[in-house]
Symmetry: D2
Subunit: 344 residues, 4 copies
């Protein structure tokens, strides 16, 4: 059994980790930290977990956690995971960070977008935790930087095109996210009365997920990819739909595109390529670790429109983190994650 700790257990990604891990046959949840609710049981905070996980929440105690766990999931504000990881790896405890601390190859990019100081960034054996791209490296990693929710939907959507050099290197990405992406801390941005019956863009062309996307897309393409990115807050709790507009380098019909995708993802359990004429809908992946991808060719402008849908809290966060854990510990990759989407 893999002994697991979660730092920041009462945020939405924390509780989603517990939903998945409490039924994971190879895992034992040993340690849960929470700054706001310590001494309470997690199921007192989230009644949905009654009977599945009634563990007490503790103040963050790294020593204790390291002594009890084989892996720690950090679901903390940016900047906190780096210190924790340096200590943990010394003790042979693996770290999967759901924040941004380990997503960047280049420390200066991290620093520019997220700020803060960071000792010996390069010294850590980290990997960008997108299994469909880095599976082999993840197997050996000490520290995983779990991808952001938007980048997951975008990179999975564009990877087959960029790896095959089919499109130009500038992509327009219009993403729509559910409100749970704004986290569990109450603010005007995530209030019901403000979000319901409302859709609006935010952080247009300056969201912190842009450098993350560009890093990964450029590596896949072999040259610089530029992303024009507009995220939208959508009146729903879960789900991300990313609509991506790409210029085809040459004429290509939809069946050819379909074959490129199915070939690229033929061994991937969690990526489903929809047949031509079918478009992904966030509801079709609700509560699951799947990514649905569809597309359409606009012949009159030679534009390829790619759409990808994920559940932002599962494949976009906690589900992917568990997928990474499975890989790191040699467990079958879909263990605990083979959840059928809830529909309707």
């Amino acid at each position: 059994m893999v002994r697991v700790g979660i730092f920041g257990a009462t945020g939405y990604t924390g509780v989603e980790l517990i939903r998945i891990l409490s039924k994971h046959e190879k895992v034992e949840i040993k340690y849960l930290s929470s700054q706001s609710y310590n001494t309470k049981a997690i199921s007192d905070v989230y009644s949905s977990l009654i009977g599945f996980c009634d563990k007490e929440l503790e103040d963050l105690n790294l020593e204790k956690a390291m002594s009890e766990c084989d892996v720690i999931f950090t679901a903390l504000p940016s900047g906190h995971a780096s210190k924790i990881a340096r200590e943990a790896v010394k003790k042979g405890v693996k770290v999967i960070d759901l924040g941004a601390d380990f997503r960047f190859d280049d420390y200066s990019v991290y620093k520019k977008w997220y700020g803060g100081d960071y000792e010996n960034y390069e010294g850590i054996k980290r990997v960008y935790g997108l299994p469909e791209v880095y599976r082999e490296t993840i197997k050996e990693a000490e520290v995983v930087g779990n991808p952001g929710c938007y980048p997951t939907s975008v990179i999975l959507g564009l990877m087959p095109l960029l790896k095959n050099g089919i499109i130009e290197g500038e992509v327009i990405v219009d993403s729509k996210s559910g409100v749970s992406g704004a986290g569990h801390n109450p603010s005007h941005n995530n209030m019901y009365a403000e979000c319901n019956e409302n859709i609006k863009a935010y952080n247009v062309a300056k969201h912190r997920h842009v450098p993350e996307m560009e890093q990964e897309l450029s590596k896949a393409f072999g040259e610089k990819v530029s992303v024009v990115f507009t995220p939208h807050l959508t009146p729903m709790t879960r789900g991300i739909l990313s609509t991506m507009y790409c210029k085809l380098k040459k004429d290509m019909d939809i069946n050819t595109v379909y074959n490129v995708y199915t070939d690229f993802y033929k061994n991937e359990y969690f990526v489903k390529v929809l047949q031509p004429g079918n478009y992904p809908a966030t509801k079709n992946v609700y509560g699951s670790n799947f990514c649905h991808i569809g597309f359409e060719v606009d012949k009159h402008t030679n534009t390829l429109i790619v759409m990808s849908a994920i559940d932002n809290l599962v494949k976009g966060a906690s589900g992917q983190a568990v997928q990474n854990m499975n890989i790191m510990f040699g467990i079958n990759e879909n263990t605990g994650l083979d959840i059928v989407p809830i529909y309707p």
Copy 2:
């Protein structure tokens, strides 16, 4: 392996059965009928099922189904299951009906509220499929009348009180249901633009679930129980919350009530009694087979207010049907049903 057929597979209770059964380790889905979508694969109709169940939908063929299945779930309009069941039991195939055809002890009550003619009603070895009450009978049943969604929430909420004779025999029930309860056939009643930002009562004091509740509550109480019932259509997809107002026969504090409930349900996996001060919320049982129950005593009127929450499509329909199947086939009762509620 239990070989399973579903008649009416593309309604919302049908697709929910498939969500659950496709991951049930003791079940093989052998036969799916659909009038509207036959020849298509179920996963072409519901993309959420891609990879979990890609079976082809067929026209309803009872002979074929009986030859391939050990049990048939009927999710059909009222009146269709009775004929099917009579044939099936002759062949030793069990039937679990998600409609109303087998819910009534008294044929005249069924006929009054649902109409239609029905040969030899009494000849069938049927049972009202509420495991928390009829588990032992269900084990031996040939035909199960799966309870209605509202009655499930109400009977579970009131049973401990009535069995213990604590309250008077007239109960007021104010229920709030998500729109999926209105089914998969489009009508003005279940349109988005009509239901969103809207709550309203319907079928006030004349809903067909009243006689079903009164039948079961009266049997538990030992004398006639009358239910004043108002269902409300609530702007959400899933969930039923029933708020029940009961007159206490004598003064009783909330801890005593709590003990009555915890004692009554001490062996029930799917019923969770919330501690005093906590009230059930439909979101806390979303996608799961659990029923959460809470209560409050209004001392100034000596009224006991009981609240119960279920997912109308799971414990209120398909989950309970699978629970019944497990019991009928000697399978551990929570097999395939041990699903953590999705929150948020």
Copy 3:
């Protein structure tokens, strides 16, 4: 022109007052206070008001407000309006309080439920601002205690029955409110991800609106009325639906009940009695000052079920406050309030 000030202009009742008053032909908005947003224009906080009201928000300055205004609307936390009102009436400035400070006839009841000290409560010429009941007194009032949202829906729904002595003196009220009733300050209670796809009760049998209802219902009835009250948080922004269960003193058919209501409300513009068979829906009064009332008789238990729907921010708060202002200043009662509900 009536010169108007609003204290607490950036709460939801504040901004709703501005929506209505900015198009009120007899009103000039002179003064807006806000603690959180002072120095900003109100239309910078609420873009919906661009061009309709671009006034600057100021720190609360009572002297200034009194010198510029004929009436002040106070939309402040409980306890603040009482001091303001005492000063204002000395200067001949009228006060309409959207909080609870002036709703109670008996100071000890106010103190028990809301706490705080209150000098010379009885010295102020106040009135409970429900025009359908107290119109004549409102005309002469210096200070109006604008009714709570739930009490408005409940008192309007029950008044014809109690005034006519048709029902017993104990009533069960099951109310469903939109989330805007929880105010503009972010908290876990009013977050999107917590409220969406969720319905739950809160403050069961101990909500502060109970004594307010009982005060007014008892006066109408001539003897003590007891209210069993359960409010529910419903996944919608606006609207209250109250479902009320009353025991008829003697048999009465629905047409007789209908006549009681239509007779009682025959001169009331803002109360619409629906014909038998029609039930109110919150969407049918969305954005308007109307109250829709419908009912059903449950003959098998001799229970009368009354349903009333209002927009909690309009007839339940700001619209009713403007209605009171119109009455106090001799303006036609529906001036500025003759808004057609938005449907769908």
Copy 4:
């Protein structure tokens, strides 16, 4: 008083016309047709209209309508308005069509996208009813083709750029629409349980609004404009947000862009240009005839992102139709339309 008839009064654009026109001081509603509900009063179908419009619905009788009305609004399926208009103009009755019958300059384009035969298309003195562009022509028009909802949001958003030749002639438009845009006829596409907690694209790169946009944008630009268009069904009742991606011909900072917009729309009451840093939200125009426009410059790709928000049923349909009527009859343009958006 302008005497008004509405053909197709019980669709969502019909009932929205009635909401607006019933309070329009220069209008008398004389005639309402409905195929589905004739002989009922409109307020029996839509209780929101009780007291505002209780007129009886009739079978469509053109002769009668023409004899009683100065103008007829046609809210009918495509193809029906053309015949009606030819008769009406002979009698001097003006026609404002909310469908597509009169939106196209080139009959062959109409025929290609909408099908059907159409006698003497060119013979009618029609105009594309976007007042911000064609106000002078509308004044003299006999027949107005009221713009589609998506094209309204897109053309208003792009017009200042194209008229000033600032951007390239290929534009990517990603639009998000509320479900009321799918109309009042129930179908799987507009069911609550299918649309709630769901966002998905539809008719990608082949929506019938593309030729309409391209016609108007190309005329403004002086050369062919190509639109890549992806509409998305969004879980809300009302509202359209269009996010548009344009290539700037040369570097331009955001303040320059802002000045282009404010200058272009300086005399337009219903178009609000938001200050740099503010983005439009559909909720801020809810129930109103306003269009809010905002933008951002992505310097690293020289892309200008324009966002526009309207209420699809008001500025996107019925409000704009009334605006056209006002212009045609010499009435002040915002009469009956000066409605403050409802927020929250």
